[in-house]
Symmetry: C2
Subunit: 197 residues, 2 copies
DNA sequence: AAGTATTGCGCAATTC
DNA sequence: CGAATTGCGCAATACT
């Protein structure tokens, strides 16, 4: 019956959850300055490595500052400008970190690799990532949908099972009753049969 | 037992789905040029309507502009959306252009209220929206989580129920068998009780 | 080391 | 008008 249908859905659902997607987000990291693209555009450069504090920010931008402002909703720790690896207390691989002593000067930019936003390579990367993002989100949407459907089906199935259990239980009680009656009757009087289940 | 726990979870889950969130997405609208903030920043202005060819601002009337805003003009063009995961798609930026209904032409500077991105009001709006967005997403995340938990619990419960049905069925078969035996045998031997089931 | 997959974020358009 | 949603691109990460 519907079993086959359910099964298939479940299967799809299961396939949506391979082991573990990745690892739990748990990443409250402050990658806040993301949207700063608007201002960033002025710099037209982003450093892929640790573009540290001073470097990027601190540049003439009001918008950023404003964004840093109060967040009524779950305040964020806007304070540090991203790039700070240990921010969220994440284990991440802070890999290369000790290089610069506690005081790194904004200069000595260990600049990993600055890429011009005009660079063809940059655009290529961006476009690829955008594609990946869309793909990933579609996937997520489908997964969520499947989970919802799965939940609904399980709920239905559950009700049916409960119902069945109710029937079986009742039937069982009846039989037990009948049996006990007969047992008592052994050879004595003859009580009615109660054929009705 | 666990019932109470399940119930509570279910309740939470249910509360996460008030009737309908809003309405189905279905909105493939081309809001693509969103990220252009980098470029936009140069203009420092955004037109809420469709800026377009030459004519853009020139009108300052907010009210009128806002009314126009809600019009579903260029809503449909990138119909590529629906269910189509086509990751590799390059669909998406083709923008809105030339397809308007017979009436209403681009000519009337349908210009919307242009708001300076420097404007305090703008920043205020943005910040509020950002807060709302975060809130909304948190909510969504929680909802998804609840759905997953719900599905898992239902699954467990299901297994238990199946198991129980198996037991009951077996017990029932046994009793039926016993009963049939007695029926046939009348009142002779005493078949073992098989109390153990 | 390089490429893809995820995730949080802000923007802007829409919906309520 | 204002809050809630949603699709999108960006950048930082996580994973391969």
């Amino acid at each position: 019956m519907s079993d086959s249908r359910v099964s298939s859905v479940i299967q799809e659902w299961v396939s949506s959850y391979p082991g573990q997607p990745h690892s739990q987000p748990l990443n409250p990291v402050a990658s806040n300055q993301a949207a700063q693209s608007s201002q960033m555009s002025q710099m037209d450069m982003i450093s892929y490595g640790q573009s540290h504090t001073g470097i990027i920010r601190g540049v003439t931008d009001e918008r950023v500052a404003e964004q840093m402002m109060g967040l009524p909703y779950l305040s964020y720790n806007t304070s540090c400008l991203s790039s700070n690896p240990n921010s969220g207390s994440l284990n991440h691989h802070q890999s290369h970190a000790g290089d610069f002593s506690p005081f790194l000067l904004p200069r000595a930019p260990v600049t990993k690799r600055s890429i011009s936003k005009d660079s063809a390579e940059y655009r290529l990367r961006r476009e690829r990532n955008n594609v990946a993002v869309r793909k990933s989100r579609d996937k997520a949407r489908r997964r969520i949908l499947l989970t919802q459907q799965r939940a609904l089906q399980l709920q239905e199935e559950n009700q049916k099972l409960q119902m069945k259990i109710g029937q079986l239980t009742q039937e069982l009680d009846t039989l037990k009753h009948i049996l006990s009656q007969r047992h008592l009757q052994g050879g004595e009087d003859g009580t009615p049969q109660e054929s009705a289940i």
